[in-house]
Subunit: 343 residues, 2 copies
């Protein structure tokens, strides 16, 4: 019998429909065509083919925009948003628009074109999150910007166009709808119960346990009760914190371990799936935004979502905002836990 | 320079980023593998391979579940939701669930496996919408159900798994988030201005004209100001009506013409793209729902959206609820209008 489950944060119902289940090994894995080395701007020695670097880790020293780096952040060559110019907001007849001020950056995770996150050493994964922290701290000083989204599209089904391991950061002059919904739900819950919604979810998951995939001292990884996608995971910090960029080094290493374990479990259990990784973080300067989230430091908690792209987003999802998911999260978590023990 | 535009109904910002533009002829067209006739349950003479028929058009008479039909509606063999049973809603610890009561039906548009909507005659397209009306009217009498979504996934990129032309209908015991947002925006606008938001959008589009693709006596087709996808279209009835199923025959023929013209323009201009078609309709028995939409007959208008799937949905979209669209709607509308004149 199918089952409907409601996401406690955004109120989205998900239809769990086990009859539409596909066996994990039958999920399609669509690989990106390998880039020819001469076409890959993210290789060491190819620094001149990218826009100027914004941040880099060069343990042996060395000049910017030259070789010797472990990680490098550059502007996207085809940016969705641009840093230059004044922010202009205006009405266009009946409608509202603004110009596309913001930033669109690429975090080149490694000089090695095939060293995906799950094969990196722990320090290499932690460097990715350290660079995100540094870039968010820098961008948050730009008074025009409200929000910075860190995300990763891995594999063709997840929208990647370059196979070289990279993460993206887009900073924008408006707060995303998705965040507004999470912030509003967190505030409403806090006002009613004097407790954090995200803390209560974490507590509920740890108590029941059947959706938990992995834990270390800093994080709990679980498959959400109303997962939209088969094998979706949420990586939730156990300490309350609204701003990712306030995380200490030690926390970023714990995060790196949690992310790496999930990706290792996916690789082992699901035939190297495409995935989107999303870091949900609090907006900047919230007190100055139209709808101020005053209690945010107590009621919103930053977290990471990883969405394997084994099923599509189609008419039902666009028409309803709901999702059809063939795999119950308890089952998914069991398969991922087993992959980690084998692993 | 990129530009941000806000959708006036759901408040979603879309980033228009012409530098990321792809020339229409370079959009990928991913075809479904043709089904072997012996594996296609939607052919005439194969009626025994589908669940029992719920509705059919047989102009020459003939028994149900046999040949002689022009169109046939059957239950989905792997339904996301099921009609049988009592609706049971319950708390599961911290969370909410209900069992998957509902309906998941397939409208087989034609016995011909390659007769896509844009190649059908007008009566054939109108039959699809007449059958949707009949099925919605029937399902709306089921007291357990709140909503029926009609949608079509065409092509592999849009989530189709069967190439034989078909439309789907899913009836469910909850009102979709997408509809709740549209209803709430319509009501708020109506309370403030004593005018319909959807009527005002229609008027604004007809006045400016540069985003209008096609018009007949019943409908205006336009590319929305804040289109999420390149070449996205909205087909808006010019007469106020909240419920699609109250449409007269004449209106359904006008709708069929509008849909057919859009699909013909896509086929000519965009290399036969995959697309999702979605019918946004008012919920059933709204006065009995938790958040009653009392003025809905004046402030919500049913409409159709067609979303060509030329760009993906990836980390940015899942992380923000916003979209990145490389093509401005004024440009898209111009290309589609030209395709229709050539046509």
């Amino acid at each position: 019998m199918p089952e409907l489950r409601k996401d406690p944060v955004v109120g989205r119902w998900v239809v769990f429909s086990p009859e539409r289940q596909i066996r994990p090994e039958r999920y399609k894995c669509e690989e990106l065509l390998p880039t020819r080395p001469e076409d890959n701007p993210f290789l060491e020695g190819h620094e001149a083919y990218t826009p100027a670097e914004l941040y880099a880790i060069r343990p042996g020293g060395g000049a910017a925009n030259g070789p010797g780096w472990q990680l490098r952040v550059v502007s996207n060559r085809y940016p969705a948003l641009r840093v230059e110019g004044e922010l202009e907001k205006e009405a266009v007849g009946f409608y509202d628009r603004m110009n596309g001020i913001g930033a669109h950056e690429v975090i080149v995770e490694t000089p090695h074109p095939k060293l995906v996150l799950e094969k990196q050493n722990l320090a290499g994964v932690a460097r990715v999150f350290e660079s995100c922290r540094a870039r968010i701290l820098d961008l948050s000083r730009d008074q025009r910007l409200h929000y910075a989204l860190v995300f990763k599209n891995h594999g063709a089904m997840a929208g990647a166009t370059m196979p070289h391991p990279h993460t993206q950061l887009i900073a924008m002059p408006v707060t995303p709808i998705v965040l507004k919904e999470k912030l509003a739900a967190g505030r409403e819950y806090y006002v009613e119960k004097d407790r954090s919604l995200f803390g209560d979810i974490l507590q509920a998951e740890r108590k029941v346990g059947d959706r938990v995939v992995f834990e270390n001292d800093g994080f709990t990884v679980f498959c959400p009760f109303a997962s939209r996608f088969p094998f979706e995971t949420c990586i939730m910090p156990r300490q309350q914190a609204a701003d990712f960029q306030s995380s200490k080094d030690e926390v970023l290493v714990q995060l790196a371990e949690a992310v790496q374990r999930v990706l290792q479990a996916y690789a082992a259990a699901l035939n190297q799936p495409s995935y989107n990784l999303i870091l949900h973080n609090a907006p900047f300067r919230r007190s100055r935004q139209p709808n101020a989230w005053t209690t945010i430091d107590a009621d919103f908690r930053w977290h990471v979502e990883i969405l394997p792209r084994l099923t599509g987003v189609a008419g039902f999802e666009f028409g309803t905002g709901f999702y059809i998911n063939p795999t119950l999260p308890e089952e998914a978590a069991g398969i991922l836990r087993e992959a980690l023990t084998r692993g």
